[in-house]
Symmetry: C2
Subunit: 354 residues, 2 copies
């Protein structure tokens, strides 16, 4: 046992790192040697710990199994050519995690528990950060209800965890999407803006149906009219019409994505015309038909930018043009170059850990 | 080890039953000695087992912690004066669990696994069924994703469990509710009709806000207009205007409650005028103001019927009359008398287990 700042550290007796093929990583399937864990009990957060990555033991009546109190974040760490370790806008994830916590009636995490836990764990696990193009150390902060009982009410105890997964690219290749006409991911006055587990479970079946029809992902539309596009799978959505980049405003139904807002800032910095406003499916169809629809892409931490090659709507398929130079690729390159310390960061987003 | 039909039974070495005060039970806080467990792996359900009630060991990356794949049912078992054990419409819960499973992209449970597991577990645990007025053995079938990985996609392994909690009444006393004007529990095209964990987590915060204002529960309204009432907390809602009993139709946003449909059937059998149709908040207010609003109650397995004494809307409170004989009490008595084998069951709902 050792202490790093106020964190109790219990080291793994063996490392699994030599079993890992870092040149051929899948996404989120291999986990590093240690994790950060902090329990919430008796109305307060207990001793923060870094311990070997290991299973949790949970009562069958633990509320996570019954009442869906679970939230998470997705982040990445990068290592540059000198071996220095960087995070990207980590405080934004911390703040959003607490926004999610509040909506799910879970305790908020003190920012220093989140940030110190993350940084100390990164220092211990820095050899786990892959450096191959398109790879990164995927970081998963998450919290769930451990308190037990069958009464439908919030738990009295919770577990906050940060775990690491050295990962390759999330998607490979271009993506063919279906604009959803029936199913929805979020209600007005619901939890769509939170990174809550239940938001994802609800997407799997409609996505499965779309896959059966030959699509990779679903473009979510508003649940009232299905006339407005909202998100692309588990990502925010961007549309390029002629040379204007469009995205929809965040709302109680739409996640305030870190990649989304970084793209908006970079686009502005690069002089790309940007509009943040509601986007009708009809506008997308019209633009596809008159040739002004240039690009469609999803934006999120896991894939950064995921270019869409075609979309289906009401039984008809629309192909996007195959451009040589896309806004998507250009914006993705600038973000990842900033993240990996290859270029200057005029926005103050990169945080050096060690 | 022993086998009961095709179920492998591992008996607990000690019983906890002598530690339990059956005359003073809370709801869902004490669990019986055994549980039924069946794992789904490699595309099929594995050996069903009855084992001692004990914690589960789960990987930190298990999808239950991240992507919300969890569903459940609520049922009860009763013991009559002769010691015979009964279930109430158990196949309805089994069928609904599979409807939930499908929507959450989880594997469906074969009906015989569900029913045999439940019955064999009940035979072993029959001494755990409380017999005091208002008490019952609460039965919690549930399923969650055990497969792990940070990719946002359905798990490849699941655990189906049935656990028992000898329980006293869910609510005590009359309930003061708030008609919700901002938050919602379900989207059109969402998962509101499923008993999915995430549906409950999303209710806790709005319910907490209502509690801060002096209410016990929230009456949910449609997420598009908030003009129509939909559910009462985690229960279906019934309204009595003059001598007509009203409830809203089930939909993709509203749970098809077993108690709800039993009440409709009994009301019809007893010659009570029933209307199943959309109910506007405005209609409720008007009826409260002109004196025709007689009763408001929630209906669900846990509480059976939960009579509402007052409701708040747009800053104003409306009191329900204090009637001597309510439809709610009368319907609750008939249901519980059928459940506990005190009266004839003309509907074929009661299932004798042993």
């Amino acid at each position: 046992m050792e202490y790093t700042e106020e964190i109790l550290v219990e080291r793994a007796t063996n490392t699994k790192i030599h079993d890992v093929d870092f040149s051929n990583l899948a996404f989120g399937k291999i986990f590093s040697d240690h994790m950060f864990v902090c329990d919430y009990e008796g109305g307060k957060w207990q001793q923060p710990k870094i311990v070997p990555y290991q299973p949790f033991s949970l009562e069958p009546a633990a509320k996570i199994f019954h009442y869906g109190q679970s939230i998470f974040e997705g982040m990445k760490a990068y290592r540059d050519a000198d071996g220095s370790v960087f995070l990207f806008r980590p405080m934004d994830n911390c703040k959003r995690m607490n926004i999610s916590a509040k909506r799910l009636a879970m305790p908020e995490i003190p920012e220093d528990y989140f940030m110190n836990g993350l940084k100390e764990l990164l220092k211990i696990e820095k050899d786990w950060i892959p450096t191959a193009e398109g790879s990164a150390l995927y970081i998963r902060p998450f919290m769930f209800a451990t308190g037990h009982g069958f009464h439908a009410s919030p738990a009295d105890t919770y577990k906050f965890v940060i775990a690491f997964a050295p990962s390759g690219p999330y998607f490979t290749g271009k993506v063919n999407v279906l604009i959803e006409e029936k199913y929805s991911r979020a209600a007005n006055g619901g939890v769509g803006y939170a990174k809550a587990g239940g938001n994802y479970a609800g997407q799997f079946y409609p996505t499965h149906l779309a896959k059966e029809r030959g699509y990779h992902q679903v473009i979510w539309t508003d649940d009232t009219t299905h006339e407005y596009i909202e998100e692309a799978g588990a990502m925010n959505i961007f549309v390029r019409i002629n040379d204007t980049l469009l995205t929809v405003p965040t709302s109680e139904r739409i996640l305030d994505g870190v990649t989304r807002k970084s793209i908006l800032k970079i686009a502005e910095d690069e002089g790309i015309a940007v509009e943040v406003r509601k986007i009708k499916v009809a506008e997308l169809i019209e633009a596809a038909e008159n040739g002004s629809l240039m690009e469609l892409f999803g934006a999120g931490t896991a894939a950064v930018v995921s270019q869409i090659s075609a979309f289906g709507y009401k039984g008809k398929d629309y192909k996007l043009p195959e451009l040589k130079d896309t806004f998507g690729a250009r914006l993705k390159k600038r973000i990842t170059d900033i993240q990996t310390n290859k270029i200057e960061d005029p926005f103050g987003w990169r945080v050096k850990v060690c």
